[in-house]
Symmetry: C2
Subunit: 149 residues, 2 copies
DNA sequence: CTCCATATCTGTAAAGGCTACAGATATGGA
DNA sequence: TCCATATCTGTAGCCTTTACAGATATGGAG
């Protein structure tokens, strides 16, 4: 069991509760990721448990590397529990592919850097392998170690 | 032996020779990564072999995921062949650490997404694990799968 | 030489995903 | 009531490019 979600949170309290920056919360509202909450008489935002859940959802998805657009789609789907989840599935599947690609690239990169360092004694720049390898792609083990978009 | 580097390249030819976008070359010049080259009478840029080498260095380091700031440091160091390479070594070592951290996070992320997908039948959103896991960090296998900065 | 299709020029704005300010207003506890 | 915080809006900046518009230069064909 998890504790009941709090009600009537200020934006600062929501920030505390979710680990999302205050500025970022307002930003998410502006771009339509978070619905505009009710306001106090003085026009300050007041959030409820639904907002906490939703913002946690967003933050978690961002942590997992989903783009804001993908999250928008996920939210739209989540809003309709009767719908088939094949849409969410497709998004996650595409994302999985992407993640696997990034891992492979980074692994190649790690090997490359490690190799540079292996060959770098405590000499001078003149024979520093780090500089040398960077200066000359021909010395690379891997042709393809571009970082992902 | 590598072929001699060409002289008197237009920006388009430099782009061809290095695989770096024309716009990006001008951008690198603007932020001081590339020195301003000499110009023709009509104020078009003309590059020599040094520029080719330098831009290849930059591109290669970018491909390896080094930040522009790190590259600036590396270039400054490379300019002094008599200096010790411990600085370059340190930059590469820090970068290696960072890459390894990212790999670990992405691996955790991959497992998490794969697990979500495993549990996602062709049912409805109501019992879709993708949505559910995203909505509730407590269901994660891993606490720590933030994407890197 | 002229002509003209390219290539290049500058400056500006967009992208994504925030973050940082300034100056005004609201809130809540002593 | 007073006042230190917190919050408000709006704008501008960050980073690394990429894209565009409108003007000018270049180099090869005739």
């Amino acid at each position: 069991m998890r504790p009941n979600l709090p009600e009537d949170l200020s934006i600062g309290a929501l920030s505390q509760a979710t680990g999302v920056n205050i500025e970022t919360i307002r930003y998410y509202e502006k771009i339509g990721l978070l619905p505009p909450p009710p306001r106090t008489e003085g026009r300050q935002r007041r959030y409820d448990g639904t907002a906490v859940r939703r913002l946690r959802f967003i933050r978690h998805a961002r942590d997992l590397g989903f783009s804001v657009d993908a999250i928008r789609d996920l939210i739209a789907m989540a809003a309709d529990p009767a719908a088939s989840c094949s849409g969410a599935d497709a998004i996650a599947r595409a994302h999985l592919k992407d993640v696997e690609r990034r891992i492979a690239q980074l692994a190649a990169l790690r090997d490359e850097i490690a190799r540079m360092l292996d060959h770098c004694g405590d000499g001078t720049i003149a024979d520093c392998r780090v500089i040398e390898v960077l200066a000359d792609h021909g010395q690379c083990l891997h042709e393809d170690h571009r970082t992902p978009a």
